[in-house]
């Protein structure tokens, strides 16, 4: 398992500050963030090749902050593989282990068998990542750090590699920390998602939680929430049976009932597009607390899905629905439509 507490590190002028999370043994952690947010610095500090400025790193329950990298039992795979150019593939793979047979076996298992005798420069991006993976795993670490391993791989190779990684992780009970800027990878692979921005950790939670309940507007926007409104909230006065935490959010003429996750001053409301239900007319009564009427201003189709933008008052509301629904409802730019959103889907932060 990987635990960091108030971890800080420096990389040139860049500073990583106050990062804390706990990744259980055998779990898959995802580190999300835009370029320059400190993801690589975090990995290097956990691996020990970069010294922590303050805070602590615990691996398998033991404090390893002062331990040298060669004794931490951590494998690392960089984005561009960084295979040793002066060695063959086989020499690369066997570099860190005294058991070349095991290393070669592992490489073959990952599909690098035919590459073994080759020089490093002849390999494609995907081939390099496989070799780098074999090299990192050959000494038998139980913790693996991956820095955007799929970024330099072509789409077809990416699917295969993702599958192999998952299988290996389960088989070898690896604790994996995986850096990516691709939200899709976070969704499919992660047990824990850690969001970094500007060297700070914004949030660490299960991916579901991260997407549904982002801790701030910045987090929400990075995570691709389609609707983020700036405004203010106040506790709901009326209605028996309203849970504490339910609040009324105002942004311009928009009124939303939503849930606040934390006791911070509310400044934003976040609604994911897929949580917006569209209809041509108001239904009768429903459990949804938010029913908004508006005019369709834009419809963008992405394969089977469609993004429908509704002008509600002066603000846009984006709904993600199936393309089929769009045609069934007969929605066109200029049509009137009704959007329904459950209060539980309106996240206030």
């Amino acid at each position: 398992m990987i635990e960091v507490e108030a971890l800080a590190a420096r990389a040139g002028a860049f500073e990583l500050r106050d990062v804390s999370f706990s990744l259980p043994h055998g779990a898959w952690g995802i580190v999300l963030g835009s370029a320059g947010s400190g993801k690589t610095t975090l990995l290097e500090t956990i691996a020990g090749v970069r010294a922590a400025a303050s805070g602590c790193v615990r691996l398998r329950g033991a404090d390893v902050t002062q331990v040298v990298p060669e004794r931490r039992g951590v494998g690392i795979v960089y984005q561009h593989a960084l295979l040793f150019p002066h060695l063959t593939v086989e020499q690369n793979v066997c570099y860190g282990t005294h058991d070349p047979q095991h290393a070669v076996g592992l490489a073959r298992r990952l599909g690098a068998g035919p590459l073994l005798a080759r020089g490093v420069r002849e390999l494609s991006g995907g081939e390099r990542q496989i070799v780098a993976l074999a090299r990192a795993l050959a000494p038998g670490p139980d913790i693996l750090l991956l820095d955007e391993p799929l970024a330099a791989v072509d789409p077809r190779g990416r699917t295969r590699l993702r599958r192999e990684l998952r299988a290996l992780q389960r088989e070898l009970s690896l604790t994996v920390l995986h850096v990516t800027h691709d939200l899709g990878e976070a969704g499919t692979l992660g047990d824990l998602a850690i969001l970094l921005e500007g060297g700070r950790m914004l949030q660490a939670a299960a991916p579901e939680q991260l997407f549904r309940r982002p801790v701030s507007a910045a987090a929400a926007e990075f995570l691709g929430a389609e609707n983020v409104y700036a405004g203010s909230a106040s506790p709901l006065e009326s209605g028996a049976g309203d849970e504490p935490g339910t609040m009324l959010f105002r942004a311009g003429s928009l009124r939303l009932v939503g849930l606040a996750a934390a006791r911070v001053p509310i400044a934003h409301a976040v609604i994911r597009g897929e949580d917006v239900v569209l209809a041509r007319e108001r239904a009768g009564t429903s459990s949804a607390r938010n029913v908004l009427e508006g005019v369709v201003s834009e419809i963008v189709k992405h394969g089977a899905l469609a993004r429908v933008t509704l002008e509600v008052g002066e603000l846009p509301l984006v709904a993600t629905v199936t393309a089929g629904s769009v045609s069934e409802l007969g929605l066109l730019p200029g049509s009137r439509a009704v959007a329904t959103i459950k209060a539980t889907a309106v996240h206030l932060c």
Partner: protein
């Protein structure tokens, strides 16, 4: 004249400039070899003093280069990886010997390591003296040429991505082992080139050496000796032979760069 024409003119200018510099450098050497080369080579058979001087030059220059490579490479590594406190200052200090006029450098070495100095007294205990000895020759060569090696080696090492070492560390290597197994082979060509530059500089040194050691004579001192004692015609063959003989190791080493470098598998 369109932009293509302008390009041609610019290209011609670049070529002309390059040719000019090459001619500037090659002409004196050609004159030297043409005027003294044959005589010098002929003399090799009969001129014991010349043979001894060439051998002494080769030996001392090689020793100076080896010592510098052994001591200077770790220093260059630390400088390249920014592990030296006040690294910029240290780097600048290391370049200072290059600025000192050579005879002055010789005198500085006398002050620091001569018999009257504490270091010199310690050397004397070991039976070593820098005046009139091979030790003095090696020391003078080292002083004027080592900065060249350290600078160039530092560049060569800095060009090797430090993350290779990081990966090697996570694979179980100690810092020294990682630098040896990964950085050294990858910087190999650059280090070799740096050593060649240093060796060549050591072979050509005169001013600092002659202050410390006149006898036994290295080739540069011998050519000066012949010039003052007998005239230009006696000095040129010495210098010409030195140039011709030095060409061999220089060519061998430079061709190694184009081929396999140390540690890299052949392709």
């Amino acid at each position: 004249m369109g932009s293509r024409g302008a390009h041609r003119v610019a290209a011609a200018g670049v070529v002309a400039g390059a040719l000019l510099l090459l001619v500037l450098l090659a002409l004196p050497i050609a004159a030297l070899v043409l005027r003294g080369g044959m005589t010098g080579l002929e003399q090799l058979g009969s001129d014991r003093e010349l043979r001894h001087a060439l051998l002494l030059t080769a030996q001392t220059a090689i020793v100076a280069t080896l010592v510098t490579v052994m001591l200077g490479t770790p220093l260059a590594y630390l400088l390249a990886r920014d592990r030296v406190p006040a690294g910029t200052l240290v780097g600048a200090l290391l370049d200072l010997p290059l600025l000192i006029p050579h005879p002055v450098a010789g005198m500085a070495l006398l002050l620091a390591f001569g018999r009257a100095s504490p270091a010199g007294a310690a050397l004397a205990q070991l039976g070593l003296a820098i005046v009139g000895s091979r030790t003095g020759i090696v020391l003078a060569m080292l002083f004027v040429a080592a900065p060249l090696y350290v600078s160039a080696a530092r560049e060569a090492i800095a060009r090797v991505d430090v993350r290779y070492e990081s990966v090697a560390r996570t694979l179980g290597d100690s810092p020294i082992r990682a630098a040896w197994r990964v950085t050294r082979p990858l910087a190999g060509r650059g280090l070799l080139a740096a050593a060649v530059v240093m060796w060549a500089r050591a072979v050509s040194e005169f001013g600092a050496i002659v202050i410390l050691t006149y006898n036994p004579k290295v080739a540069s001192v011998l050519s000066y000796d012949r010039f003052t004692g007998e005239g230009l015609d006696a000095a040129l063959p010495v210098a010409a032979v030195l140039v011709i003989l030095a060409l061999v190791p220089l060519l061998v080493l430079r061709s190694l760069r184009a081929g396999t470098a140390l540690g890299e598998p052949a392709r």
